[in-house]
């Protein structure tokens, strides 16, 4: 319990970000027309690819000679990049098709 309090105390900014981002996430996509549900989901999918940052940190932090960690880190970087690049590319491809007729959504 003490540890939990200490942890929350030292991460209180994170708690703020967490709570505010939840509201933000809901508000930001509120009122999205159903035409955009798929691209929006796909775009959000690409954004959580920010996990790649964690993968890079893991590799940068590995101790000298820790090849197992390097391998796992390599795999994590590959997976994360797939998520980011694939996610944004596929979203762009979908949204490209909306371009010729820029009218209001139904």
């Amino acid at each position: 319990m003490e540890q939990l309090i200490a942890f929350t105390g030292s991460h209180i900014q994170m708690v703020y970000i967490l709570i505010l981002s939840i509201f933000l996430g809901v508000v930001v996509i509120g009122g999205v027309p159903s035409v955009l549900h798929t691209p929006l989901m796909s775009g959000a999918n690409a954004i959580h690819g920010v996990v790649i940052v964690g993968a890079i940190i893991v590799v940068l932090k590995t101790g000298p000679g820790d090849y197992a960690a390097l391998c796992a880190g390599f795999l994590a970087v590959v997976l994360g990049t797939l998520n980011v690049v694939g996610g944004f590319a596929v979203t762009d491809r979908m949204l490209e098709m909306f371009k010729p007729k820029k009218r209001r959504a139904p």
Binding site: G25, V28, A44, V50, L60, V78, G80, G86, P106
Partner: protein
Amino acid sequence: MTHIAGFGLDICYVVSSVTFIAGLRMMSSPKTARNGNLVAAAGMFLALAATLLLYDDHASRETMKLAVIGGGIALGGAAGWITARSVRMTAMPQLVSLFNGMGGGCAALIGLMEFGHKGNDLAAHSVVAAGMIIGGVSFAGSIIAFLKLSGAMKKPLRFPGYNIVNGVVLAGVFVLAGLAVHASRGSGGPPGYAALAAALAYGVLFVLPIGGADMPVVISLLNSFTGLAVAFSGIAYNNQAMLTGGVLVGAAGTFLTIIMCKAMNRSLVNVVFGAFGATGAAATAGASIKGTVKDISVSDAAVLMNYASKVMIVPGYGLAVAQAQHVVHELETALEAKGVSVRYAIHPVAGRMPGHMNVLLAESNVDYDKLLDMESANPQFATTDVALVVGANDVVNPAARNTASSPIYGMPILDVESARNIIIIKRSMNTGYAGIENELFYNPKASMLFGDAKKVLSGMVAELKKI
């Protein structure tokens, strides 16, 4: 120097977070959507580059490590780019699911490696464990969803005692995670692996029995799971960019999931705990509708539509399977040339992904003023001469209104029954993805047109040109 680097990194993360928020906001409107995606992608690049260059908490940059990172990015980037650019538009749902799984897998791996590196801090290890487990569930679940959507796994799989096994595995996930957190103070190791294995098993079990109209909901839910996993990793690393990105997607994804659940008139809990599978028996029990089914020929159907003043096209997954999105647009153009008003009625869960039909029809350049959502389409069916159902089944099944024992009972459906004539293009009398008989086919106003949607529709276009 260190201070300046740390400050620069913080600033970059702030900017990235803002681009994620702004990008998502822009993606919610058709006019700005494409730029929104680019804005978020630019922010992502910034976060990535800044981490690579400026991150310096116990970090070192030997050539070896940089090569590992560079190689990983090159490999993942090339594979991601090529797949994303080459895959057919109709295969989008499984692709989104696959990329989502990659993100989940990445979060799970990071969690696994971070175990044992948080000293004696139970709370910190719990956060790491949460990221690892949610990531693992999302990874395994997304892979199963990918296999199901790409047709490698045809039927929703259920086995006796599924609910018990599911419960045991879920409990196992929590127990093992607890053990791993406890044991990891100092070491890490086997309990962490066991917890991850249990999470993977649960991910598989979670998606296996799900079929029918639930698939889009599940993809969206798994998407928000990955978001959540990333958020936990963000807390573990005290990394604001990961936290904002993850939470934003977690919240937005959950919200989108709830919108879809509402469209099907089911609660999220109901979907998550696979009640759809539990009512499977009722589906076969209701399969005894009496009546006759009427056939119609391609030319008769074309004539019928030629003399209609209003045609409503109801697309479903069959349209995607048959790759008929371009032909259906041709039919629309041919009909409009003859003064027939044509609209599309899009059910919120038609297809295998939210907005699936909209994307397909946008690909074939259908004007999106012509795409009506369920609320605006339903009142219009009463004045519609011909409702043309193309490869849709469950979303027009009257059992959702009339048969309390049906698994889809209570789901709002498109009101095609109010139209004066109903033409249903279908490959066979087989039941839809949910495996439920459709009494609409026995409606006296309905005629069936059996065949591949693409062939049938191009036949109609040819006939129309002759009239």
